[in-house]
Symmetry: C2
Subunit: 198 residues, 2 copies
DNA sequence: AAGATAGGGAACAGGATGTTCGGGACCAAA
DNA sequence: TTTGGTCCCGAACATCCTGTTCCCTATCTT
């Protein structure tokens, strides 16, 4: 029975993870090869495969901390600062602030340089949170629940990407305001567009 | 000077294109290798590279027809059936109907099996159309134009993907209604969610 | 019919992947 | 300190994919 993981192993894993982030920032996710990673981290080939099954697996490992951080933030925000129904989508501000703290990493992952794997992983994490919120809200039949879920997550990723790539100087709270406005009220009121009276 | 392209060449290009669609449907875009494609199409290796620079280039070629089809549809719809300002987002219904006609192809491209390349290509085509529409509408300063553009395109792709993968039996017009409602009015009125009175 | 043009296939070199096998560092027990 | 065990690590290998080169041959023109 082994409770604490070997220091050597931890060192190796951290080296691989750092090397991957560094390489993604330098040449993008798709273009980064396992060969590059083990060269940069200076570890052996089989060492890599002893820890991860491939490039994708290594990337996923980095999201564990995101999930726990986000859960903490959600739980500390939710009960006090925001009353249910009047303050929906509690995950968004926590996530924007999390991204603000790890801007380089996020930019490496969600931008054009970060691959589809990272985005789909973030999507999975976010879907969990949004799904929990949606399940407590009554819905009418116009928009199926699953579609609403996907819509919210996509909108969030869109705002996040736009923020990091175009307007990184904006404050997380300002970006969060835009996100909430778009998702809850749409673009109708801010463009003069009208929906047809069916 | 050669006006008409060689029949042999056209035959080869079509064979490669069909093979790729078939393989994407069978095992996904990322997993499909050039080796697979030329085996399936039964053409030589150098023949492939004589026509395309790689897998990505082959995929992009298939979108030329989409762009022209979509332009035609937009131009025939726009002037009569929809008056500006009261019927925004003229591209959407045409695109949904286009997707309805090529369901297999679209499903192969936008689903989980289709890669990021296809999605980003569709995004490019759509962005052109939405950008043209947005440029004719006055905006207030709450939501930057570029963000609104990305938001609309993402929402469209989300609805399109959800439709093809979850509810393919729905009519294009019904899906279009949902899309327009989400983009223009948001989810606020259909969930009971409210935005904070800032 | 015969030369010119251009598409098609075999083969090759370079590189990435994932596995195997043995050496050796770290840890616990005596 | 020694001894045995565990498991991390790296060199080397077979396999596969990629992109290019070279030559053959089908098609077109005169």
């Amino acid at each position: 029975m082994k409770k604490a993981i070997d220091r050597r192993a931890a060192r190796t894993r951290r080296a691989l993870h750092d090397a991957m982030i560094s390489l993604i920032l330098r040449k993008g996710y798709e273009a980064t090869t396992i060969q590059d990673i083990i060269d940069e981290a200076d570890v052996g080939r089989s060492t890599f495969y002893a820890h991860y099954t491939g490039k994708e697996d290594l990337l996923r490992g980095g999201f564990e901390r995101l999930r726990t951080d986000l859960t903490e933030a959600r739980d500390s925000y939710s009960p006090r600062r925001r009353a249910r129904r009047s303050e929906p989508l509690v995950f968004s501000l926590a996530m924007f602030q999390h991204a603000d703290g790890y801007k380089d990493v996020y930019r490496a992952l969600v931008g054009r340089r970060g691959g589809a794997v990272a985005v789909s992983e973030i999507r999975r994490v976010l879907s969990e949170f949004v799904r929990q919120e949606l399940s407590t809200v009554e819905r009418n039949g116009a928009i199926p629940r699953e579609l609403a879920l996907q819509f919210i997550v996509s909108a969030f990723l869109t705002v996040l990407t736009w923020w990091l790539e175009r307007k990184p100087e904006l404050a997380p709270t300002a970006v969060d305001e835009m996100f909430r406005r778009l998702v809850i009220k749409g673009i109708g009121s801010s463009t003069g567009l009208r929906v047809r009276s069916t």
